[in-house]
Symmetry: C2
Subunit: 449 residues, 2 copies
C-alpha cells in the first residue's frame, strides 16, 4: 500500500484542504446562528433550480468523505448549505403500490423526486401501472426554462434518465436494449429507448457517459437508420466527446456531451478491503483515467456558463441536475477510495454551484442523495470486508462493506438520508420529508403549474 502514498495523492489532499475552508456558514455552536438561519429562509419564486444528487450518498458516505478529505472537524462545500432535513427514500411494490419497498434503487427514487410519484424499483418516470408522468425537467422546459442534465454515469443511467425519459425498465438504455420494454420500443410505436427519449426531450445540455447507446441505430420512425447521436444532431444538438470539445462548444445550440462509452472514469484508486482489513493507506489519483474526459466540476462549470448566458435576457432561468453517480457504484464495488474520490469530485461541483448561487441568490440549490448505501465507519474488522485509510487528520479510519461478498454488489440501504438546501423555498427541506416532496418544492420554486 505504500505505493499509494504517492506525491500525487498527497498533492490532491493538500490542494483540496486549501480549497475548502472550515465551517463558516454552518453554525459552529459558539456563535448564535439564529439570525443567519432566519435570513436563510426565503419564500417566493426562484429564477433557477440546481439539484445535485449524490447517488447512494447517505450520511455515512458523507462522513467518510469529510473525514478523509478535510478531517472530522472540517467542512465540505455540501456541509455549508444553511437548511437541512432528513428525507425518506422508499419505493413502492409494483404489484401493490399501497405497500412500500423499503430499499429503493436510483430509478424509483429518481422517479420520485423527478415526478412527485412513488413507483417501483427499475421504473424510469412511469407509475406502477407503467404509464408515464411528466418530470420536473419536462415541465420546466415547457414553461420556458432552459434545462440541463449532467452525470458521471451513462446519461441513460437511472438518475439522468428519470428527468427526460419514461420506460418501464431502467435497462432499456438504447435501441438495441429494448428486450424488457416492448411497450416503449419504437418498433411497437413507443417513445423509444432512454437514449432516444432523452434527445427527444431535448434538454439544452446532456453531459455524461453512455456514448455506446447514442451510437446505436434507431429502428423505426422518422429517424430510422440514423444513430441516436445523428438524430440529436439532426435536431440541432452539437455532439461532443471530449473535454476540448466541451470547452469549444457554443452556448447558442444545445450540447450533447458523451465522454465515455460507459460510465466516466474514476477519480481515485486505493486499497481493496479484505476480510482481515488492510494496512493504513492513502488514496491516489487514478492515473488510468482518460485525460480527455472532463471532470464533473468542468461539466458543471460549462452547464452554468451556458445556461446563464442563454437566460441572461429572460425572465425565466433554468433547471439543472448534476449527479455524482459513482459514489453509489464504488460503494457497490466496496472500493473506499473510489467512493471517496467521487464524493470529493461531486463536492467540487457543489462548490462551483454555490459560487454561482452567491452571484445569483434567486437560485434554489438542493444537495441530496437518492438512497443510503452499505459503507460504515467502524472500530475494527467486521463480518464483511474492511480497509483502513489515513485521513486528512493523519488518523486511521476503517471502513466496512458487509452486505454482500466482495465478488458481488454491496446493497443499498433503506435509511433516511440528508437533504440540504439554500435559496428560495429551501425551508421546505426542513424536518422529515419524502423524496417525492422535493418535486413539489422545485415545482413551486419555478412557479410551474
Amino acid at each position: 500500500m505504500n505505493a499509494l502514498r504517492s506525491k500525487k495523492a498527497l498533492f490532491v489532499a493538500a490542494a483540496a484542504i486549501i480549497a475548502i475552508p472550515s465551517a463558516a456558514l454552518a453554525g459552529d455552536g459558539h456563535q448564535d446562528n439564529t439570525w443567519a438561519a432566519k435570513q436563510a429562509i426565503k419564500g417566493g419564486q426562484a429564477r433557477n433550480v440546481i439539484l445535485l444528487i449524490g447517488d447512494g450518498m447517505g450520511d455515512s458516505e458523507i462522513t467518510i468523505a469529510r473525514n478523509y478529505q478535510v478531517g472530522a472537524n472540517g467542512r465540505l462545500s455540501m456541509d455549508k448549505l444553511p437548511l437541512t432535513g432528513a428525507y425518506t427514500t422508499y419505493a413502492v411494490q409494483k404489484a401493490d403500490p399501497s405497500k412500500p419497498d423499503y430499499v429503493t434503487d436510483s430509478a424509483a427514487s429518481g422517479s420520485g423526486w423527478a415526478t412527485g410519484h412513488k413507483t417501483y424499483n427499475g421504473a424510469i418516470s412511469v407509475l406502477p401501472n407503467e404509464k408515464p408522468v411528466p418530470t420536473i425537467l419536462e415541465l420546466a422546459k415547457k414553461a420556458g426554462y432552459k434545462t440541463g442534465d449532467v452525470t458521471t454515469a451513462e446519461l441513460q443511467d437511472a438518475t439522468p434518465a428519470v428527468l427526460g425519459s419514461h420506460v418501464i425498465n431502467r435497462d432499456c438504455k438504447g435501441p438495441d436494449a429494448m428486450a424488457t420494454c416492448a411497450v416503449n420500443d419504437k418498433v411497437n410505436g413507443g417513445a423509444g429507448s432512454i437514449a432516444e427519449q432523452l434527445v427527444q426531450t431535448k434538454p439544452d445540455l446532456l453531459l455524461g457517459g453512455g456514448k455506446q447507446y447514442f451510437d446505436q441505430t434507431v429502428k423505426a420512425g422518422q429517424y430510422k437508420g440514423l444513430t441516436v447521436a445523428q438524430q440529436a444532431q439532426a435536431n440541432g444538438y452539437q455532439v461532443v466527446t471530449d473535454a476540448a470539445g466541451l470547452t469549444a462548444a457554443s452556448a447558442n445550440k444545445p450540447i450533447l456531451g458523451a465522454f465515455a462509452k460507459n460510465n466516466m472514469d474514476l477519480e481515485w484508486v486505493g486499497p481493496k478491503p479484505t476480510r482481515t482489513g488492510t494496512e493504513p493507506a492513502k488514496c491516489a489519483v487514478n492515473t488510468a483515467r482518460t485525460a480527455s474526459q472532463p471532470h464533473l466540476v468542468d461539466m458543471a462549470d460549462k452547464a452554468l456558463t451556458v445556461l446563464d448566458k442563454q437566460t441572461r435576457n429572460s425572465r425565466k432561468g433554468f433547471f439543472l441536475q448534476i449527479e455524482g453517480a459513482s459514489i453509489d457504484k464504488q460503494d457497490h464495488a466496496a472500493n473506499p477510495c473510489g467512493q471517496i474520490g467521487e464524493t470529493v469530485a461531486f463536492d467540487a461541483a457543489i462548490k462551483r454551484v454555490l459560487q454561482y448561487q452567491k452571484q445569483n441568490p434567486d437560485t434554489l440549490v438542493v444537495v441530496t442523495a437518492d438512497h443510503g448505501h452499505t459503507s460504515q465507519i467502524v472500530e475494527d474488522v467486521t463480518l464483511g470486508y474492511t480497509a483502513t485509510l489515513i485521513t486528512a487528520d493523519d488518523a486511521n479510519m476503517t471502513i466496512s462493506y458487509a452486505t454482500a461478498d466482495i465478488a458481488g454488489s454491496q446493497q443499498h440501504t433503506g435509511t433516511e438520508v440528508r437533504i440540504a438546501a439554500g435559496g428560495p423555498q429551501a425551508a421546505n427541506v426542513l424536518g422529515v420529508t419524502n423524496q417525492t416532496d422535493l418535486f413539489f418544492t422545485m415545482k413551486r420554486a419555478l412557479g410551474l403549474k
Copy 2:
C-alpha cells in the same frame, strides 16, 4: 415465529398507530413550509431545556423504528420537531487529543454534549488530561435551575453519568468498582464513583436503573459505612424503587429512583437474526418485563410534573435529560425488536415532552443521538445476521447486523447523526455541527455564564 404474531403484538402496533398522527408539522412538500419555518426560528433565552438522547439512534435506527411502528410514510413524534441538522460525533485520542477517534462511545460523545469538550472513549466529563470540566447540568443547577437526569439504563451508565460525575473510566460505577479510577476513589481523596458523585451533584431527579451501585457501601469520608442510597437519603433524597413509589414521591424533595439492579427491562421481544435470515414476524411485548418498573414515558411524565411544580414561581425553569438507552444496547445485541421497542418507548417520552413544550413554548427541546450504530435496512441476506419484520405497512423489512458475530457485540459506527430541535435557540442545530456545539447551544439558551 408465529407465536410472535400474537394479539398483544397487534394491539401494540395498532394502539401506537392511532396515537401518532401522520406528518403534520414536518413539511409534506405539497404545502409551502416557509412561513412555518420562519416562525419556528426563535432566538433569545429559554426557561427550560429538555434534551432527549436516543443512545445509538442514528438515521438508520430511526428509519427502522418509523417503518415498523407507523409505516414508511408515517411520522414519529421525534420527526415533528421543526428544525433539523446533522451532527458529528467523533471522539479524540487520549494520547494525542489533536487527532480524532472516528468512532465514539457514549462516554466521550456524552462528555462532548455535556461539557463542550471533545475527549477520549471511556471518559466521563473529564478532559484527555483526566481533569474534570463542568457539565451543563452542574452549571444550570449552580445558576438556580432545577435539574433532572432520566434513563432506561443504569444511572451510572455513560449518558446519565456525564451530567453529574467526573471519572477517568466509565466502568467506575460504584464504590466497589474503582479499580481503573484510583485517582477518583474516595479512599484516595477523590470525588468518588459515578454513583457517589451523582448524588453529591444532587439533581432534583435521578431516575433509571443501576440500583446495585447505590447499594454499595461508601468507603471513606463523611458517609463512610453508609450505602450510596443512604448517603442520598441523608442529603434529602427520597429513594424509590418501583413505579408505585415514583407515583407517590413528593415534588417537594429530590427523588432518586433506582428501578432495576442493572438496566431496566426491555419493552419488546422478537426474532433473533440468523445468517440465512428469518421468516417475516412481528415484535411482541416482553412479558418477562418486571411490571413494577415504570416505563420511560412514566419517568418523563413524573420529571416534567415535578420540575414544573418546583419552578412554577421562579424566573428560572429547569434542565432535564431523558435517555432512551437500550436502543444502543439492543443494537449491540443484534436484537431488532428490542431496539425498535426501545425507540418507540423513547418516542413516547418525546411525545410527552412535546405536549409540555406546547403548553410552555419557552422550552428548548432537542432530540438527538450520541453516535450511529450497526443496524441497516437491506434487500437481502448479508455477510452478517438478518431478520425480517412485518411492519405497520403490512410489508416486510429486513434488518442486517454485520459488524460483529452474533455472540459478540455489534459495533458503533462513525456516521453523522440527526439532531432535531424546537424552541428558543433551536436554529443552532441547522446545518452540520459537532456534538460539542450542543453544549454551547443549551448554555446560551439558559443564559449561563
